[in-house]
């Protein structure tokens, strides 16, 4: 179950011990065979079990392409302000490469988990834990509260998220984002007016659909809809310990044209 080479691009990985055990095909070999098949698992109270170890389900490089839009569609919907911001960005400036949070709905090449936590009452919170790039977590309030008025929210990387179930679909509604994270490595921008609704549906044991609706009148001339699909990692996979800030060479190593031997970047 050596998993190291999956992460070879990134220097700062420290693998969790459990995954360093020998024997059996590697996680990445198993992943190539496609997601496991079977019925959708459920909790004792009938709620769909989303815990998994998931890969994908959001944009990484290009939200337009990965979210199922035809090429050029997104650019055509950008306001002049959004176009100007996008034109000013290049990959070397990406906050995520400096170990800052990736925001929503972005994912990384690394896996993540949903944590469903019943307390002595019904589940009041749901957490989303990512292996990378920053070892933080996203918090979703499941206790029926509303968003506070927007003027009372301090803009944050993950915003203020409230969630509920519509039949077997987990709906997460988020406002209160800061404007710092990028939707993708391309630099697709947003403003603090961003409002995102995610609809997560586990369609089988091995796949989960994330249907994302977002509005941001400052950056896009109409609401946008994207569809992403997450796949379940093989049984036995776990999130590794990944401390981005420990030895962060991620940003530099991933700049196109960077030569690790010379330390120079060819323009």
């Amino acid at each position: 179950m050596k998993k190291l080479f999956v992460l070879a691009l990134v220097v700062s990985i420290v693998p969790v011990l459990a995954d360093a055990q020998g024997g059996g095909p590697s996680i990445s070999t198993q992943r190539r065979k496609g997601p496991p098949e079977g019925p959708v698992p459920r909790l004792p109270d009938g709620t769909v079990d989303l815990s998994g170890v998931w890969v994908g389900g959001g944009p990484i490089n290009d939200i337009e392409r990965e979210g199922g839009m035809k090429p050029g569609t997104l650019d055509a919907l950008m306001t002049p302000k959004a176009k100007a911001i996008l034109a000013s960005r290049d990959v070397t400036q990406e906050p995520h490469n400096r170990c800052l949070p990736m925001g929503v709905p972005r994912v990384t090449p690394f896996p993540y988990r949903f944590v469903q936590t019943p307390t002595h009452r019904a589940a009041t919170h749901l957490f989303i834990l990512h292996e990378g790039n920053i070892h933080s977590y996203r918090q979703v309030f499941m206790d029926g509260r509303k968003h506070p008025p927007i003027e009372e929210l301090d803009p944050t990387w993950y915003g203020h998220s409230i969630g509920w179930w519509e039949k077997d679909t987990l709906v997460i509604d988020t406002i209160g984002f800061n404007d710092k994270f990028w939707f993708d490595r391309r630099g697709t921008p947003h403003s603090e007016q961003l409002h995102i609704v995610e609809r997560w549906t586990r369609t089988s044991l091995g796949t989960m659909e994330n249907r994302v609706t977002m509005t941001d009148p400052e950056m896009f001339t109409r609401p946008l809809e994207f569809v992403f699909t997450a796949t379940l990692s093989p049984p036995g996979d776990e999130l590794l310990e990944y401390i981005c800030q420990e030895n962060n060479q991620y940003g530099q190593q991933t700049i196109p044209g960077f030569n690790p031997a010379t330390g120079e970047t060819k323009k």
């Binding site: 420290v14 693998p15 969790v16 011990l17 459990a18 360093a20 055990q21 020998g22 698992p41 459920r42 909790l43 004792p44 109270d45 079990d49 815990s51 400096r98 170990c99 800052l100 949070p101 988990r113 944590v115 469903q116 936590t117 019943p118 307390t119 002595h120 919170h125 957490f127 834990l129 920053i134 070892h135 933080s136 977590y137 918090q139 309030f141 206790d143 509260r145 506070p148 009372e152 929210l153 301090d154 803009p155 944050t156 990387w157 993950y158 915003g159 203020h160 209160g176 776990e238 999130l239 310990e241 401390i243 981005c244 800030q245 420990e246």
Partner: protein, 287 residues
């Protein structure tokens, strides 16, 4: 409901989204840290009288609900004092004692946004996130409000064992397996790296560190961590310490107590702007 602005002075304080709860724990009032004056409002926790005023909550499967959020329950300034020992009682080997006394607070990895590890806490709240799945309680995650520096710690609750020693890859949180002994959650951890400090005093350890935590919610408002520390590399014998966590007091208006978003890396000025001395000179320390 604006977050208190003083927090921006005391720490890195990225503004969270919720509820103006004074956060800061420990000593309250106006303090001076290395010449920088700041106000520490203290964390709102339930009082001793309130702590026993309600029954200990349980989950649908009968387990004690350890969720929290909690304040404390570990070491912060000085593991010896925080863990209930008298000065000098911690059985450190001579080299380890020497190293501790040589270390400067400014060099602490935690103030550079690296994980605090075990049994460290800080003045901010944390939670046991008990992850229920179709196969029952599979993992417990420890989530600290200091999101990136606190990271998320994983405790395997599925009955697995530690991997053999030759397969350990030393890391910040080690390999943690948990089980229940009655109503006590027992967490056994090996495979730590030697990089984190137990406290801001600089108490060290080695990769031989083995910890056993026994978490017992003794009342609605208190949870005890009976902590066994065994590290033959840095200690002459195993030592057992006792810490008590206090339940965060919910916001009086909303009844809600939540972790805020805290991105240490975003604007880390803790070490220097927080007034830690000895920077550059290596000659002074605020201890």
């Amino acid at each position: 409901m604006r977050r208190l602005s003083i927090i921006a002075i005391t720490v890195v304080g990225v503004a969270g989204v919720v509820y103006a709860q004074g956060r800061g724990g420990g000593n309250q009032g106006v303090q001076t840290d290395g010449g920088v004056r700041y106000i520490n409002p203290g964390s709102p926790t339930v009082s001793d009288a309130e702590a026993t005023s309600r029954p200990i909550p349980r989950l649908p499967d009968g387990r004690v609900d350890l969720t929290g959020p909690w304040i404390g329950g570990g070491s912060n300034g000085d593991i010896e004092r925080d863990g209930g020992l008298k000065p000098g009682e911690l059985p450190l080997l001579p080299w380890a004692r020497e190293l501790r006394d040589k270390r400067l607070a400014k060099d602490e990895p935690y103030t550079a946004c690296l994980p605090m590890s075990v049994p460290r806490v800080n003045p901010y709240p944390w939670k046991f996130a008990m992850s229920y799945t179709s196969r029952g309680l599979s993992h417990i995650y420890v989530l600290h409000e200091t999101g990136d520096a606190g990271a998320h710690r994983v405790v395997y609750m599925d009955g697995r064992k530690h991997p053999p020693k030759d397969e350990w890859v030393p890391n910040w949180w080690g390999h943690s397996i948990g089980h229940w002994e009655g109503d006590t959650l027992v967490i056994d951890t090996v495979g730590y790296n030697d990089k984190f400090w137990f406290d801001s005093r600089g108490t060290p350890h080695t990769e031989q560190l083995h910890t056993i935590e026994r978490w017992t919610r003794i009342s609605w408002g208190r949870m005890v961590n009976e902590f066994t520390l065994d590290d033959p590399g840095a200690f002459s014998k195993p030592v057992t310490l006792k810490f008590t966590a206090r339940l965060l007091r919910p916001d009086p208006e909303t009844g809600i107590g939540d972790l805020m978003e805290f991105i240490c890396l975003e604007d880390n000025q803790y070490g220097r702007a927080g007034g830690l001395q000895g920077i550059g000179s290596g000659t002074s320390n605020q201890r």
